[in-house]
C-alpha cells in the first residue's frame, strides 16, 4: 500500500468545553486524493483541517504528515519546505504585508528564492487570481474574500503538494469563484497534489465527497 500523504491515527480531539469533536478517528489521505468535505456548523470541518496542518494538537492519537508525525514544538520538514497549502477562512495573511509580499514571503523563506524572482512568481499568481491591481495593498484593503483568494495564490505560487482549504468567510462572488476554480484546477492537474476542500459546492468536479459530522469522517453522504 503506498504511503499516504496524511494519516490520522486514533485521533481524539476535544473542544474547549470538553465535547469530543473526534474520538478515535482513523483517516488517511492518499497522494493525489481530492476530497470535498461537507458538514454542518460545528461539525468539525475546520477542526479536521487544523488537525491535518498541525495547528490543533490532538488530545490523543497522532497525525502523520508525509511519513513523519507532527509534534508540538518540533519543526516538520514538509511544513518547512512550504509544501502545505494552508488556506483558512480568513486567508491567514500577515496584516502588515501587502498581498504581493504575503505571497512572495514563503517563496523566499521556505524555498530560498531571491526577492525579485519570488515577487515575479507571486505577481504572476496574483494576476491569475484577478488580484494584480490589488497586489500592493495590504489584506484589509481588498477585504476577506480577496484575502482568501490571495491565500490560494500563495499556496499555488509555492507549489504546494497538499492543499487544506477552508470555506471562505463571507462567501464568494462570481469573480472569486472563477479565480478559485482556476487556481485549484491548475493544482489538480498535477496527479501527486492532494486537496482537501471544505465546502466548495462551486467546484463540484474536484473530487470525492466527504462528510464530516458526529465525530466521524466518511466518504459520500451521511448514511
Amino acid at each position: 500500500m503506498p504511503e499516504p500523504v496524511l494519516a490520522l491515527e486514533a485521533v481524539t480531539l476535544l473542544a474547549p468545553e470538553g465535547r469530543a469533536v473526534f474520538r478515535g478517528l482513523d483517516w488517511r489521505m492518499e497522494r493525489g486524493a481530492r476530497f470535498q468535505a461537507r458538514g454542518g456548523a460545528g461539525g468539525g470541518c475546520t477542526a479536521l483541517l487544523r488537525l491535518c496542518a498541525g495547528i490543533a494538537e490532538p488530545d490523543s492519537g497522532r497525525v502523520v504528515l508525509d511519513g513523519t508525525a507532527l509534534e508540538a514544538g518540533v519543526p516538520h520538514p514538509f511544513l518547512q519546505r512550504g509544501h502545505l497549502g494552508w488556506v483558512p477562512s480568513d486567508g491567514g495573511l500577515a496584516v502588515n504585508l501587502s498581498l504581493l509580499q504575503n505571497v512572495a514571503l514563503p517563496l523566499q523563506f521556505a524555498q530560498n528564492l531571491g526577492q525579485a524572482a519570488a515577487e515575479r512568481t507571486a505577481m504572476a499568481w496574483l494576476e491569475q487570481a484577478g488580484l494584480g491591481p490589488q497586489a500592493r495593498n495590504r489584506p484589509a484593503v481588498p477585504g476577506d474574500r480577496e484575502s482568501w483568494v490571495a491565500s490560494l495564490a500563495r499556496a499555488a505560487a509555492k507549489g504546494s503538494r497538499l492543499w487544506l482549504v477552508d470555506r471562505p468567510a463571507g462567501g464568494l462572488d462570481a469573480d472569486s469563484i472563477q479565480a478559485a476554480e482556476h487556481i485549484l484546477g491548475h493544482a489538480a492537474q498535477d496527479p501527486d497534489v492532494s486537496i482537501l476542500l471544505v465546502g466548495g459546492a462551486w467546484m463540484p468536479s474536484l473530487g470525492v465527497e466527504l462528510t464530516i459530522g458526529n465525530g466521524r469522517v466518511f466518504s459520500g453522504r451521511e448514511p
Binding site: 496542518a53 495547528i55 512550504g82 480568513d90 509555492k158
Partner: protein, 263 residues
C-alpha cells in the same frame, strides 16, 4: 493559615521559574534559528530588523533627546547644590559623567524602549496569535521564530545601544549647558574631566547593559504576547505583565551588572 501562605509563595516561585524557563527556551530557539538561516532568509530577517530599528530607535529619538537633555540638566543642578556645600564644584563633570554613563543612560533608555516598543511587541504578538496569523505563517513554511523574533532581538540590541550613545551624549551636553550657566567652566575643561571620568569599566558596563537590556526587553515582551490564547481581553493583561516584568528584569539585571563591575 501559614500553610496557605506558604502554598501561595510556592506557587508564585514556581510560576516565576516557569516563566524564566520559557523565556530561556525562547532565547535558545532564537539563537539556534538565527545561526541556521540561509542566505535568502538572512535577507528577509535583516529587512525586518531594519524596520524594527526604525521603530525602536529612530522614531524614539526625539523623546530620547528631550529626556536626556532635561535629565542631564536637572541631575547637574541637584549635584551642583550638594557639591557647592563642600566647595567641590570642580568635580561636577566627573560625577555627572559617572552617574549618566554608569547608571542613568542604560536605565532610562531601557524604560523608554519598554514603554514604546516592548508594549508594542507584546500587543503585536498577542494579536497575531489570536488571529491565527502565526499559525498560518508557520504552516506556510515561514517559521515565526526567525522571521519575527530574531529581528526583534537584533533590533532591540542595536536600538538600545544606539539610543544609549545618543542619550549619554545629550545628557552630558545638557549637563554642560547648565554648568556653563552657573560656573566658569569651558567646554575644553568639561571634555577633559569627562575623559578622566570615563574609563574601560564604564564602557564595559554600558556595553554589557545594552546587550542584556536589548535582548531581555524584546524577549520578555514577545514571550508574554505569545502566551495569549483565547480572547482579546487577554491582550491588555499580557501587555501590562510584559511591561512590569521587563521593568523588573531591567532593574535587577542593571543592579547585578553594576555590583559585579563596580563593587
Amino acid at each position: 493559615m501559614p500553610v496557605r501562605w506558604a502554598c501561595g509563595v510556592g506557587a508564585k516561585v514556581r510560576h516565576a521559574f516557569a516563566l524564566l524557563g520559557s523565556v530561556w527556551w525562547l532565547l535558545g530557539k532564537c539563537v539556534r534559528s538565527g545561526l541556521r538561516l540561509s542566505r535568502e532568509q538572512r535577507r528577509v530577517v535583516l529587512a525586518v530588523t531594519r524596520i524594527q530599528i526604525r521603530f525602536t530607535a529612530l522614531d524614539a529619538l526625539p523623546l530620547c533627546v528631550l529626556t536626556a537633555l532635561l535629565l542631564g540638566g536637572i541631575t547637574l543642578l541637584q549635584v551642583f547644590a550638594q557639591l557647592s556645600a563642600f566647595g567641590a564644584e570642580r568635580h561636577i563633570s566627573q560625577i555627572l559623567a559617572q552617574l549618566v554613563i554608569r547608571e542613568l543612560g542604560p536605565l532610562m533608555v531601557g524604560i523608554l524602549v519598554i514603554s514604546r516598543s516592548g508594549t508594542a511587541m507584546a500587543t503585536e504578538m498577542a494579536s497575531r496569535m489570536l488571529s491565527g496569523e502565526l499559525d498560518s505563517l508557520y504552516v506556510s513554511g515561514v517559521d515565526p521564530i526567525p522571521y519575527l523574533l530574531v529581528p526583534r532581538l537584533l533590533g532591540g540590541v542595536i536600538s538600545v545601544f544606539s539610543l544609549v550613545i545618543v542619550f549619554d551624549t545629550v545628557a552630558l551636553l545638557g549637563g554642560f549647558l547648565v554648568a556653563w550657566l552657573r560656573l566658569p567652566v569651558s567646554f575644553g575643561f568639561f571634555l577633559g574631566a569627562l575623559g578622566e571620568a570615563i574609563g574601560r569599566r564604564e564602557l564595559t558596563a554600558t556595553f554589557l547593559k545594552c546587550i542584556v537590556f536589548g535582548i531581555a526587553i524584546p524577549l520578555v515582551c514577545t514571550s508574554f504576547g505569545l502566551r495569549v490564547r483565547r480572547s482579546t481581553t487577554e491582550i491588555p493583561q499580557a501587555v501590562t505583565k510584559a511591561s512590569v516584568v521587563s521593568l523588573a528584569v531591567l532593574l535587577l539585571a542593571g543592579a547585578i551588572l553594576s555590583v559585579l563591575i563596580y563593587a
